[in-house]
Amino acid sequence: MAETHAPIQRPLSPHLGIYRLTLSMVMSGLHRITGLALVAGMVLITWWLLAAAAGQNAYGTFEGFATSWIGRVILFGFSWALLHHLLGGLRYLIWDLGYGLEAAEREWLVRANIIGSIVATILLWLLLVMFGMR
């Protein structure tokens, strides 16, 4: 005869919402978001190359966009997303190889990623200005 039991109280996996948000979680999301933003960046590269191939007028239109203030803001954001995603990718390659997974190393890598991407972006634009960006 089947006996009726009270449901067994098994441990439940904690809901995602109760985890303390860590910087590496935010950076994981940011890696995805910058990756998706780079799709728009690739569209800009396509426009740039097609304009260069099409001729002077088409290139002028692209240059008009690239040198406008909104174009500059978009290109600055694109360059930061690119460098951030590139450095983040190196971080994931290091982790894929099994290195840098200790707590202190993780934190260090994540911080190096943020600081490195900002410094590299500023450095890139300083170089662009130095080389006579119009």
């Binding site: 995805r32 990756g35 998706l36 780079l38 799709v39 690739m42 569209v43 590269i45 396509t46 190359l49 097609l50 260069a52 191939a53 002077q56 290139y59 002028g60 360059s79 690119l82 590139l86 990718g89 190196l90 994931y92 390659l93 894929d96 890139l124 170089l127 662009l128 080389f131 006579g132 960006m133 119009r134």
Partner: protein, 126 residues
């Protein structure tokens, strides 16, 4: 006629029937993208200040053109896999997922081919 057993043929291929190929290619293209992107940034810096004819001449030189084609292949491939992973993670309806993955493929091919065509056209100067 394959000598492999039916079990051997499917082991390790998973439900997508392509195994870990995308996972691996995503990492290989990531590695390739590091030097290629740095070269691309170096190119953009060296193009600043040039007018259209100068830019066209630099873009059309063989070394730059070959590096740019490699940049486009590695980056577009990486982009295609990356976007597909995002679609597969967040879109759960099968038909919607299939539609978006196919559109993503079309997009990647169109962008990749357009860029390569443009580079070759500039190089050959026609």
């Amino acid at each position: 006629m394959s000598m492999r057993t039916p079990l051997g043929r499917v082991l390790g291929l998973g439900s997508a029937k392509s195994g870990t190929e995308d996972f691996w290619v995503q990492r290989v293209t990531a590695i390739a993208n590091v030097p290629l992107t740095l070269a691309g940034l170096f190119l953009v810096i060296s193009l600043t200040g040039h007018s259209y004819p100068g830019i066209k001449q630099i873009l059309g030189s063989p070394l730059v053109a070959v590096l740019m084609i490699l940049f486009i292949i590695a980056n577009v491939w990486h982009m295609k896999i990356g976007v597909q992973v995002v679609i597969e993670d967040y879109v759960h309806d099968h038909l919607q997922k299939l539609t978006l993955v196919i559109l993503n493929n079309f997009f990647a091919w169109a962008v990749g081919l357009a860029c390569m065509f443009a580079i070759l056209k500039i190089s050959f100067g026609v």
